[in-house]
């Protein structure tokens, strides 16, 4: 693997360079390169099977990429820098520490059912980061209040609606104070009413401006509203990118036009 000699600039929080990924000999990502700037909200659009989710998952190494490099906040994901400055692969503790800086929100929430909503949120800060419990619990309560669940804190996930579970999952990710939040089709498993409550939380987060967000979604109007930049993918490649107006109203690529014609 070739490593770039220079680190990305400080304000580039994600720099993906020529990322390739295959499963069972079937190549899903072809040389995907993308820079995301600090505080930016980037929405990934494209037809099913375009590799949007796969790309999102390579960023925090849930999919270990085969080729290319991904820097997040100045760190090469999945590699450790030795004293001499060379990179060596590390998929254990070091990768775990890198991931603490990246929040991930799943399509199917993946809350931990043996804990209450509140415990889901304070668990990792207390058990893994060893933060003082009283302080972490207090912060967890504030986060749950922020996503509108102040009165459901002691419920277990199976006592919550899908929309409520997804909001807990967002609070859980925020509790780690990540510099980057990744959302993988966060509303695809929800009915329309619940979709709105989750999107409202995400809009609020996007407007606060201090969280960098990358969102895979099929909600075009939501994308228009929150995105600083829309990236369109198809067949495992980046197709085109630009502001919501450029991409949604004046798409350059024929494939983008076909895709938008289907979903708009």
């Amino acid at each position: 693997m070739r490593f770039p000699s220079k680190l990305p600039p400080k304000d580039v929080i994600v720099r993906a360079t020529d990322v390739c990924y295959s499963v069972n000999g079937h190549q899903i990502l072809h040389d995907v390169s993308l820079d995301v700037h600090r505080g930016e909200v980037v929405v990934l659009l494209g037809p099913s099977g375009a590799g949007k989710t796969t790309f999102l998952r390579t960023i925090n190494m849930l999919n270990p990429y085969d080729d290319g490099t991904i820097f997040v906040d100045g760190h090469l994901m999945g590699y450790k820098k030795t004293r001499s400055g060379a990179y060596t692969p590390d998929s254990g503790r070091h990768l775990a520490e890198q991931r603490r800086n990246i929040g991930f929100v799943f399509q199917h929430f993946n809350l931990w059912p043996h804990m209450t909503a509140l415990e889901n949120v304070w668990h990792t800060p207390v058990r893994i980061l060893k933060q003082p419990k009283a302080q972490a619990v207090e912060e967890a309560k504030q986060l749950l209040a922020r996503v509108g669940l102040a009165d459901r804190m002691d419920a277990h996930p199976n006592g919550l609606s899908g929309g409520q579970q997804q909001r807990v999952a967002i609070a859980r990710a925020l509790a780690m104070h990540p510099s980057l939040m990744l959302f993988d089709e966060p509303t695809s498993a929800l009915d329309p009413e619940m979709t709105l409550e989750v999107l409202a939380v995400m809009k609020q987060l996007a407007r606060s401006g201090d969280t960098t967000m990358m969102i895979v979604t099929h909600e075009i109007e939501f994308a228009r509203e929150v995105a600083d930049r829309i990236v369109v993918m198809a067949d495992g490649r980046l197709l085109e990118q630009g502001t919501p107006e450029e991409v949604l109203d004046h798409p350059k690529e024929q494939r983008t036009r076909e895709f938008l014609a289907k979903v708009l």
Binding site: N60, G92, F104, F106, H108, N110, H114, I128, N158, A169
Partner: protein, 262 residues
Amino acid sequence: MHFDWTFFWDSLFQPSNAYLHGLMLTIVISILAMILGLILGLVLALMRLSRNGVLRFISATYVWVLRGIPLLVTLVIIYLGLAAAGIYKFQDASVLGISIAGSIQAALVGLTLNEGAYVSEIIRSAVAALPEGQLESSLAMGMTRASAMRWIILPQAVRTMIPPLGNQFNQLMKNTSLLSIIGVSEVFLITQSISSATFRTFEIFIVTGIYYLLLTTIWTFAQNALENMFNRRLGIETVSLRTRMASMFAGARAKLSPSSRD
């Protein structure tokens, strides 16, 4: 047919000291072997689930061998076989002032080795039954695989494990009767000696059957309480043994006489 009721009731309600001692030994050995088997089983399961191929191979081979050999054969190899070959002879030893016969030590080793193999399979399949998303969300939050196991995977898998582990313990209590073959004076061996001294074989073995039934029944209640405890922790509604049995019998009744349903 002659059934000596006096002998039967006496044996049931006023068992001799030797009999009570045998019963006690059965209970203590069962509990100790289960605890040790749980520890061994957990180690084997973690080896089997690890990313290290050598550990996985060792664990899988162990389970394959120990599950494929009858417990009785394992026990005889460990106690009589090792001694006959001059490899190791279990000697009576004193632990914390209690003298433990060599045969009991061998029994504990044999039961633990056997139990560990079964327990590890139960743990492994309970972990495998969890949705992949549970591990993924733990990793995404920045846990190592070990932390995810400790905090997220095993606590959930425990709920799935309890019914099969409970059955395993039930089996184990009954399997201790095999220990008579290596001369552990547990309740089965005591029963045999009473039987040959009195020729009241039918009566005394019925008494012993009742005692085994009593032990396994008490355990059924304990297991139900344990399951409910874990259900509450998961926010699942608990089911009392009575309703569980009632629904079981209701189902059976419905099957037997569909016309009498009201």
